[in-house]
């Protein structure tokens, strides 16, 4: 069976540090919500169409970007990039709590930082490249998905983060560790544990958003 695939449109969003190249999928009718996808470094082409189509199946419009591509940036600059992307969705009528944020790798680290900054519906970090300083308190419910073999964030670091968030953040958060995989487990692979991690992490990502992103009430636009 052939599924309809939507090719994202490429456009630009202006941010204080320059122009961000974004991929965008707009939906007709009444979308469930909107999602900003922060891809891993240099993975926009590889990941964005897959992830964005997956989100569209669940009714989410989306905007995807690789925040590493304009060159090195400080955390506050990265957060201003996210603000600019949220502004773009705002023009389409989406309020912060109707927006979800999903980040992978480099973008996963930014998604965690952004969870403390913006009152989004929900945020997910898939194999973030770092969780050094837990941004406390979080403002958006945050889900962290980790590969147990990921040297960037070993299980011990996840446990410490978990404890810091439990005691220091009034907002709900969860972490999940996948055995036998490192970073990049969101991409499907034939090995059993890798396939399981890819499947489960996507299920959890969508469920996380569905339970928290404020649904659009009536006909928009």
């Amino acid at each position: 069976m052939e599924f309809l695939r939507i090719a994202p449109e490429i456009s630009e969003v202006a941010s204080p540090r320059g122009v961000l190249r974004v991929a965008e999928i707009k939906l007709g009718g009444v979308p469930r919500g909107a999602v900003v996808v922060l891809c891993d470094a240099d993975a926009l082409e590889q990941d964005a169409p897959e992830v964005m189509n997956g989100l569209a199946e669940h009714g989410y419009e989306s905007l995807a970007v690789d925040l590493s591509s304009p060159g090195p940036a400080r955390d506050d600059e990265l957060l201003r990039d996210v603000a600019a992307l949220l502004g773009r969705l705002g023009e389409r009528g989406w309020s912060a709590e109707q927006i979800g944020l999903v980040g992978y790798g480099f973008g996963g680290r930014v998604a965690l930082l952004a969870s403390a900054e913006f009152g989004l519906g929900g945020a997910v970090s898939v194999a973030p490249t770092g969780v050094e300083v837990p941004p406390i308190p979080l403002r958006a419910p945050w889900l962290g998905l980790f590969g147990d073999l990921d040297g960037n964030v070993p299980p011990q670091a996840v446990r410490e983060l978990r404890e810091a968030l439990d005691s220091g953040s009034p907002v709900h958060s969860e972490t999940v560790g996948y055995p036998g995989v490192g970073a990049g487990f969101h991409r499907d692979a034939p090995k059993v544990l890798a396939h399981a991690a890819a499947f489960d992490s996507w299920q959890r990502t969508v469920e996380w958003l569905n339970l928290r992103v404020v649904p659009a009430a009536g006909t928009r636009g």
């Binding site: 009444v30 519906g121 419910p141 009034p170 907002v171 709900h172 969860e174 569905n210 339970l211 928290r212 992103v213 404020v214 649904p215 659009a216 009430a217 009536g218 006909t219």
Partner: protein, 439 residues
């Protein structure tokens, strides 16, 4: 005045008997649902089970599927777990965290504050269509973290209903400065017996040594001796409105549970010494005694000081109940004390422990034997009627509970028993905060 066919309360002999029909009859069961459960305050859960905004648990209370939740602002809410559209269950999990609950049948979405926030194909409804919110029980209120619901909008307020049970809850709750907390996880089991048998059993000091012989043997071995006579010093107590308890002398708190190391004992003593400054000796002496309490009709709190179990009994049928048990603990306790507490909880009350399975077996054999109720219609609950001060091994507390039950089911109001008032340690009060700072 109506005369009950279920209870014979003979003050002359004296003798108190309960008809076994109360344990088997479908009509009695239906009357209980209507006259007791539909018009009482019923425990649903503890506030500390909901840690963060949008946390929820699903519970069945008096047959109703309910959602026990914190909304986005952190306020405790209780909802009927049924979609106002055409009825599907909104939450089919035992718990979780969700800002929105989306009905899987036709996709209506509700917020954790109960509002209908989205309807697929919204244009199928007229402009004046009133979007229904989630339904809720008539009343929700809490006392020191214990959350109760009532399906009766005209019911007395919760503190009035709790009457003397408040004092005993205070004795439990004051055991932590940070606030007693329900530990994660529940014990859930069903018992093929009438729910009232477990009510009786939960305040039955008489059965302890015979039914739980194995447990006491283990304790004797672990402590190098055991003096169950202290159990006889306890009192059976009428807390008003059908709530009852047995409360032990201060030494009873040390009777149960595995022995502690010196360091563990020291930590415990130090904590209780701090309480002495804060609450006064009279209150802390009382706190140190074990207590078993039934809050009418179906909430049990047993505080053996080495562990506190909160147990809710949900009647399913005349001969079947579901039991949910939680562990209430002071979060500030060190690792050894906490470990001992967990171990005590499992070895005594766990579904695979050394006490609860014995109780379950006892109750199930009672129920099976009631098949012969034509030949043997009455159970005897007279112990201690002739004693001036009934002990925890007497059955005064059960009779007191039964009289309330009888009043609600039949309208017959039997006078309370006359006994010596509580004295000694059982009357200790908490000193006022003013007094505490003045010390």
């Amino acid at each position: 005045m109506p005369v009950s066919e279920y209870i014979v309360d003979d003050r002359e002999m004296p003798r108190f008997r309960v008809n076994r029909k109360t344990m088997t009859d479908g009509e009695v069961f239906a009357r209980e649902r209507e006259l007791i459960f539909n018009h009482s305050w019923l425990y649903i859960g503890h506030e500390t089970e909901l840690r963060k905004p949008n946390d929820f648990k699903t519970r069945t209370v008096a047959g109703r599927p309910l959602i026990f939740a914190k909304d986005a602002k952190g306020k405790v809410r209780v909802w009927v777990n049924s979609c106002p559209h055409r009825g599907a269950m909104l939450c089919r999990e035992s718990g979780g965290n969700a800002r929105f609950m989306t009905c899987f049948y036709h996709g209506w979405s509700f917020s954790s504050s109960g509002d209908l926030v989205s309807v697929p194909g919204d244009d199928g409804y007229g402009p004046d269509f009133e979007r229904p919110s989630l339904a809720a029980p008539a009343k929700v209120d809490s006392y020191r973290g214990f959350v109760f619901v009532s399906f009766d909008p005209g019911i007395v307020d919760l503190p009035t209903h709790l009457a003397g049970a408040k004092d005993l809850l205070d004795l439990v709750c004051d055991q932590s400065e940070a606030g007693m907390r329900i530990l994660e996880g529940t014990h859930e089991y069903s018992v093929k017996a009438n729910w009232k048998l477990l009510v009786e059993n939960s305040v039955d000091g008489y059965h302890a040594v015979s039914t739980h012989q194995r447990y006491f043997e283990m304790m004797t071995a672990a402590h190098g001796g055991f003096a169950p006579t202290a159990l006889g010093q306890s009192r059976g107590i009428d807390l008003g409105n059908g709530h009852v308890a047995i409360a032990g002398e201060p030494s009873t708190g040390g009777l149960f549970g595995r022995p502690l190391s010196e360091a563990g004992k020291a930590e415990k003593t130090e904590r209780f010494d701090r309480f002495r400054e804060k609450y006064g000796d009279a209150w802390v002496d009382r706190m140190g005694g074990a207590r078993n309490m039934v809050i009418f009709p179906n909430l049990v709190v047993i505080d053996l000081v080495m562990g506190v179990v909160v147990r809710r009994i949900e009647p399913l049928a005349p001969d079947c109940m579901e039991v949910t048990a939680w562990h209430l603990a002071p979060p500030e306790e060190g690792e050894e004390l906490h470990k001992q507490r967990l171990d005590n909880f499992l070895t005594f009350w766990g579904p695979g422990g050394l006490a609860s399975p014995d109780d379950v077996e006892a109750l199930e054999t009672c129920q099976r034997s009631y098949a012969a109720q034509r030949e043997l219609p009455w159970s005897d609950v007279s112990r201690g009627m002739s004693r001036s001060a009934p002990t925890g091994s007497d059955e005064f507390q059960m009779r007191t509970w039964w009289r309330r039950w009888n009043e609600l089911i039949t309208g017959e109001k039997l006078p309370p028993e006359e006994h010596a008032p509580l004295d000694g340690v059982h009357t200790g009060n908490r000193q006022s905060p003013d007094h505490a700072t003045a010390q």
